[in-house]
Amino acid sequence: MEELNFGATAWMLTSASLVLLMTPGLALFYGGMTRSKSVLNMMMMSFGAMGVIGVIYVLWGWSMSYGADVGGIFGNPFDQFGLVGTIYDENGEFLIDSFGVPGIVGVAFQVTFAIITTALISGAIADRTKFSSWMVFVAIWVTLAYFPMAHMVWGGGLLSGDGPFASIAAPIDFAGGTVVHINAGVAGLVLALIIGKRKGFGTDPMRPHNLPLVMLGAALLWFGWFGFNAGSAFTADGTAGLAWVNTTSATAAAMLGWLLTERIKYGKGTSLGAASGVVAGLVAITPAAGALNPVTSIALGAIAGVLCALAVGLKHRFGYDDSLDVVGVHLVGGLVGTVLIGVFATDTGLIFGGGLNQLVVQVIIALVAIVFSGVITAVIGLAIKATMGWRVPEEDEVRGIDLSEHAETAYEEINS
């Protein structure tokens, strides 16, 4: 039995709270980017994920992530169903983990990751998706795609340091490049393809209706991300501090990278570009936050900022309607971060003479994540398409999905 470490517990409680705030932050970030007739629906996709996963996680989510291993793929959902056996030991004392943090605080921290990951996907399918179908998707996807991936990477499964690839090098995913960003990014791409384009995609402007809201959202995401990354040290120590500083320097560099790319391409740096660069940097440093130093973090951030700024143009080239660039930011940013660990990792990276092993194993886990997430999401997505259907009637899409799905409009129109 470990002794309670009050300081570590304080930081993990704080971190859990910070990460929970990220999802409303995302709701604002995404909501500001939609047209004013669909901002509420966009925000509701995030809030809905909070509702569904907030309940599911304590029932079977924790158990499927960290319960008794089944084939290296997922945890047994019945092992700690309803958190029985997670909270107290046989004497009714709180269980304490190896960092001196109560197990229940670990649950607090992890539920927030499951929520934000799933909510991220919604950006790809904005403005056109039936709310009921989304809510069903959330419940199934988090169960079949997220919990297993969390188990594989963090719960001692296939992609962890205990898995088969660890013989090449121990895979590094500090705070969720594969589990969170590649996973959500691929899911977004698959759903965007299955659900199809918004009416008017490629011809109508569909400009963001409220950019200060987008910037506020990006700010809350950055703030919350300190819990995400520095909290992933699982205690309040030097590693947490390093992750904090890396998160900031990478994010700052990514913002500059995105703005510079815009300036070169269009002559101006935009506020949407700054907000997007912030998120791209946060995404890219996520898996790497504990493995780099602040200077290599700047390099990683800058690369991610530039590449993501270029990647958001791909949807127009290839014609898929990834409405708010889940692919361009989360999939691309997640890949950049996950793979470049092999180059920049302070101990094992290529440029520090660590050879190719780390790079190879990073590529492998990224590929496994892509395939796993792609296949599972496709199955779920197609099943929902065949049964409930995904889309609101075109007429409702034009009139505004806020009205048709939620019987509301975001803003008062005529003063009275």
């Binding site: 008017g200 034009v398 019987a407 509301e408 005529i414």
Partner: protein, 112 residues
């Protein structure tokens, strides 16, 4: 001269603009409006209070045209704005006695 005023569905604005441009019109003024008519409004729900909003969003387009062009151009607007569904809107033509271009002070057809 005449003023053509069109109250149309917001999502038809781009089409109307293009059609007018194609017909040689070089300027217009656009504003937001709300319409009340045969098109039913909708029901909104706020904390248990359900109520009917009978004003639906519309866009108003105003085009000053020469006398002889009024009928044709009104027709252009109507075709471009038409979807055949209730609520497509109205177009009306009213007389204008004088038009002045602010920049130059020129008035009459030259001001268009």
């Amino acid at each position: 001269m005449k003023l053509i005023t069109a109250v149309i569905q917001p999502h038809k604005l781009d089409e109307v603009k293009s059609a007018l441009e194609a017909a040689g019109v070089r300027g217009m003024t656009v504003s937001e409006a709300s319409g009340y008519g045969r098109q039913k409004g909708h029901t909104e729900v706020y904390r248990g209070a359900e109520y009917t909003v009978d004003l639906v969003p519309k866009v108003r387009v105003e085009v000053l045209v020469e006398d002889g062009d009024a009928t044709t151009l009104a027709g252009v607007v109507v075709s471009a704005a038409q979807s055949g569904k209730i609520g497509d809107g109205k177009v009306w033509v009213s007389p204008v006695e004088d038009v002045i271009r602010v920049r130059t002070g020129a008035s009459g057809p030259d001001a268009l």
